[in-house]
């Protein structure tokens, strides 16, 4: 089963939710469970679960379940990123790429950035 290696970056304060890391590498199987489960078992190649191509919506949940170290409600709200967070796919607003439905490709660069308001 093929794997995806993604460069995931955080900015504008979102890094505080992920151990202050600005950049991480995430390895995901190209096919993930249709029920959006993110545990090791479900991500095994030989799981009995139904599969779908890994998309951005899944990545958001995976980050929340597996890598978030601070309060989840400051990252995810109603199943997607909370208001005030922009998601960028290879330097393009995810709205132009289908938002959560965007199917991840190997080597994609995904950025989660919080809007700034100070001056």
């Amino acid at each position: 089963m093929s794997q995806l290696s993604l460069k995931v970056e955080f900015g504008g304060g979102i890094e505080l939710l992920f151990s202050k890391k600005h950049t991480i590498t995430v390895e995901l199987p190209a096919l993930v469970p249709t029920d959006d489960s993110t545990d090791d078992q479900s991500l095994m190649e030989d799981t009995a679960k139904e599969k779908k191509p890994a998309n951005l919506a899944y990545l958001v949940l995976y980050l929340r379940d597996r890598l978030l170290t601070e309060r989840a409600e400051l990252f995810v709200e109603n199943g997607t990123v909370r208001p005030g967070i922009l998601v960028l796919v290879n330097d393009t607003d995810w709205q132009l790429e289908g938002e959560g439905d965007y199917e991840l490709k190997d080597k994609d660069n995904i950025v989660f950035i919080s809007t700034l308001h100070g001056g």
């Binding site: 900015g11 504008g12 304060g13 600005h22 409600e73 400051l74 909370r82 208001p83 005030g84 967070i85 922009l86 960028l88 330097d91 393009t92 607003d93 709205q95 132009l96 950035i113 919080s114 809007t115 700034l116 308001h117 100070g118 001056g119």
Partner: protein
């Protein structure tokens, strides 16, 4: 086309010989009017370069007063102007640099009740403010008045820059952020801290975008510039969505009531974490 005063050829000669500016460009700058909302970390450098370039009329809108803690980044204010209104302090500095520019000093807060009237006289609006409610208010007002909004923001070591409500399909602030962030994710400069050169760089670039719009040199592509002072690379340009049909402000069926309480919309007044002694940074 109106003539330029003779001294203007001397003063602006270095930019008038540039391709894309020239005599007609200088006349455009002189005829332009710009409102800078916020004379703080972003507003000071933006005002400085707009005024130096010879924009005809500049509105300086800020109801705050200069404090010692501002001087680390708000480079138009001085030790002597501590206690004065920032708009007044900024105007003094600008006047000494370029007495030809007409400066409108407005020492009032921009709120829903006065925003349209305050901003209507200007061609382009600059958002150099420091809080979320005012950012929504300025965007909605820019949409209502049909004017571009050059929006800068800065926090800690990071900055962001966009032009909203500009060009055929340019988004507004609400297209990007239909819902305000949760109140608790929003800190102030006092709580979060701010690096002076970040506001300086973003403020400079706000002046640049403004001048490009005036001169017709802006390519109108919706974009977000992200600046990370400690990052490698420090700058990154993002391609943004177009205007959203569903946007409450600039979409097909706008429905922002004119009396929106922007502070309540954004989760209520800011708790003063600093004086409560709960600032994480202190």
């Amino acid at each position: 086309m109106s003539a330029l005063p003779l001294l203007d050829y001397q003063r602006y000669g270095r930019q008038m010989i540039l391709d894309g500016i020239g005599f007609p460009g200088q006349v455009k700058l002189r005829k332009a009017s710009v409102a800078v909302v916020g004379a703080g970390g972003l507003g000071c450098p933006a005002l400085q370069y707009l005024c130096a370039a010879g924009i005809g009329r500049i509105g300086i809108i800020d109801h705050d007063r200069v404090e010692l803690s501002n001087l680390q980044r708000q480079i138009l204010h001085t030790e002597e102007t501590i206690g004065l209104h920032k708009a007044e302090s900024a105007a003094r500095a600008l006047k000494s640099m370029n007495s030809d520019v007409l400066l409108d000093v407005q020492t009032v807060a921009v709120v829903a009740d006065n925003a349209r009237e305050l901003l209507a006289p200007y061609d382009i609006l600059l958002d150099c403010t420091d809080n979320v409610p005012t950012r929504y208010l300025l965007s909605d007002t820019a949409v209502a008045l049909g004017k571009p909004l050059v929006s800068g923001a800065a926090q800690k070591f990071e900055g962001q820059l966009s032009v909203f409500n500009y060009g055929a399909n340019g988004p507004c602030y609400r297209c990007l952020y239909p819902t305000p962030p949760p109140r608790e994710t929003v800190g102030s400069c006092a709580e979060l801290g701010i690096f002076g050169v970040v506001t300086g760089t973003i403020g400079n670039l706000q002046a640049l975008e403004t001048i490009k719009i005036i001169l017709g040199l802006h390519d109108e592509t919706p974009a977000l510039l992200i600046f990370s002072a400690l990052g490698t690379p420090p700058f990154r340009s993002i391609k943004l969505r177009s205007k959203k049909e569903s946007c409450l402000a600039c979409g097909k069926s706008p429905r922002i009531p004119s009396s929106t309480d922007y502070v309540q919309f954004c989760g209520g007044p800011a708790p003063d974490w600093v004086s409560l002694g709960q600032s994480s940074g202190k």
